[in-house]
């Protein structure tokens, strides 16, 4: 068994009057890939955004319960949400590089705007993280050109690099391959398998096969409730709950 990196305790989320997440207890193991599966509208994305306090920036959300990162509650009033977001990187469904910035600046914008200006250090970070996501050789000669000119798959890898530049401990991915072609998607999947050596990875996915292929642990969410959580192999071969069974067999 691995150490627990993130733990939710009795986590509930409301949007206005509607309860979106219902008393979630979940323990995310360190340096593993945990997949969060479930049908559309079941609260997967909300759960992800509750972990790094990204829900805070939207109006109308109310969170109760605890999210423990290394045992400390990220919703503690003394905690600065910006520090949490720097420790928990996030990649979104739609590739969202900043189109007004160069490839280089896309990678380091988080560092720069958090006050790090040492050119040498930034150069090193750019090279390191672009190498990590397998983009360095493709873009090293055009680091100053606009990130919007990259292909969708390259953009998504750039977004992963952007998150990694802050040297986070956890990486959240919200259906990172759903807007990509199969080849780009496969590249991202193998990249995630590489990255799990260094990072705790949580991936929300619609794609049951993808969850089976790359995740070590899987959670099944249904109408805001955590139905089942366990080793991916167990979930797929020997689900305890009837709903989970239906879902992984594609009968839902």
């Amino acid at each position: 068994m691995f150490g627990i990196k993130i733990e939710t305790k009795d986590l509930s989320v409301w949007y206005k009057d509607k309860q979106i997440l219902k008393e979630i207890f979940l323990s995310i193991p360190e340096k593993q890939i945990t997949a969060i599966m479930g049908p559309s509208g079941c609260g997967k994305t909300t759960l992800l955004k509750a972990l790094n306090r990204l829900l805070d920036i939207h109006e109308g959300y109310k969170v109760s319960g605890e999210v423990l990162l290394d045992g400390n509650n990220v919703y503690d009033p003394k905690v600065n949400p910006m520090e949490i977001r720097a420790r928990i990187g996030m990649v979104f469904q739609k590739p969202s590089p900043f189109p007004h910035l160069s490839i280089y600046d896309n990678v380091v914008v988080g560092l720069k705007l958090r006050g790090i200006t040492d050119k040498k250090y930034l150069d090193d970070v750019v090279k390191e993280v672009l190498n990590k996501v397998g983009l360095w050789d493709e873009v090293k000669d055009r680091l100053e050109s606009s990130a919007a000119k990259l292909s969708g798959g390259q953009q998504q890898r750039l977004c992963i690099a952007r998150a990694l530049a802050l040297n986070p401990e956890v990486l959240l991915l919200d259906e990172p391959t759903s807007a990509l072609d199969p080849i780009s998607a496969a590249k991202i999947e193998s990249l995630l398998l590489d990255l799990k050596k260094e990072y705790t990875i949580i991936i929300v996915t619609h794609n049951i096969q993808q969850a089976a292929r790359i995740s070590d642990y899987a959670a099944f969410l249904y109408m805001g409730q955590l139905i089942e959580f366990g080793k991916t192999q167990e979930i797929f071969t020997n689900p305890k709950n009837e709903l989970t069974e239906k879902y992984v067999e594609g009968r839902m």
Binding site: I57, R85, F92, L113, C159, L166
Partner: protein, 277 residues
């Protein structure tokens, strides 16, 4: 039945075409007359020399071109920062009652007749400093504020939520997300809004009559009286002299070209930017 349907269909098309021509004909007439009459004196002297003595032919409107440039410059210095910051406030912070009040206020400002803004500028600036570039710039700045506010607000509201979320997810403080991610993303639309606000006030005449006076001298500074291109058109068109009428037409043509270049320039600029976004 089918023939009737076709007939109705065709008559709607004809009706739409008719309304279009009713709309476009006066416009073409205006543009046509300005070009035909304006070309008579549309020469280098027009834009390089100040006016000559009353009855002699020749002379130009250099004083008014310089005046317009100075007045519009002062106007932009006043309205850009205020309008830009208010736009950011409305797009990113304002919620509930206060936001509604501010929006209503901006709409009201946009609806004030420009001559009243001119009189307002007269009472608080002309009375103290005299007819001046400053007074005219203040009036035009005031008039352009709602345009800058709205274009900034619209541009920021058009920033996709993924872009904002991506900014926040990097642990960047809110004010930096707004200033470097949101404003950066919306930059070209915000600049386009600035230019359109400028194009909007460059042809304003009424508030200038009561603020800059409109003499024949090239303004020497912020506190000296000035003339402006639209004001020259107004003054010369009312004069009894044929030579001045011709200059007024040419000044109108110049103003038309400036407005056209600015509007087309903004469109072209946005089109180039749109390729990348």
């Amino acid at each position: 039945m089918k023939r009737l349907r076709n007939l109705i269909d065709k008559s709607y098309t004809a009706l739409a075409a008719c309304s279009f021509f009713i709309l476009v004909l006066p416009l073409l007439h205006i543009i046509g007359s300005i070009i035909i009459n304006g070309l008579k004196r549309f020469d280098l002297e027009l834009i390089t020399s100040p006016p000559k003595s009353l009855l002699s032919a020749g002379g130009g409107i250099l004083h008014a071109i310089v005046g317009t440039a100075m007045v519009v410059f002062v106007a932009m210095i006043i309205s850009l920062p205020i309008g830009f910051l208010t736009g950011i406030y409305l797009a990113e912070f304002a919620r509930g009652k206060l936001a509604q009040i501010i929006r209503a206020l901006i709409t009201t400002i946009a609806g004030i007749p420009s001559i009243i803004v001119g009189v307002f500028a007269y009472t608080i600036i002309v009375v103290v400093y005299g007819f001046s570039v400053l007074a005219g710039g203040f009036a035009l700045g005031f008039i352009s504020i709602p345009y800058v506010v709205r274009s900034t607000e619209e541009a920021l509201k058009a920033v996709p939520i993924e872009i904002k979320e991506a900014g926040f997810s990097l642990g960047i403080p809110r004010w930096k997300v707004i200033l470097f991610i949101d404003v950066g993303y919306a930059k070209s639309r915000i600049i386009a809004g600035f230019l359109l606000a400028l194009a909007r006030v460059i042809g304003e005449t009424a508030p200038l009559i009561v603020t800059i006076l409109g003499g024949i001298n090239i303004p020497s500074g912020l506190f000296s009286p000035a003339n402006a291109i639209p004001l020259v058109i107004y003054q010369y068109a009312l004069s009894p002299f044929k030579a001045w009428h011709d200059i007024a037409w040419s000044a109108a043509l110049l103003l038309l070209i400036i407005a056209l270049v600015m509007n087309l320039g903004v469109r072209y600029y946005l089109k180039i930017k749109a390729i990348y976004y």
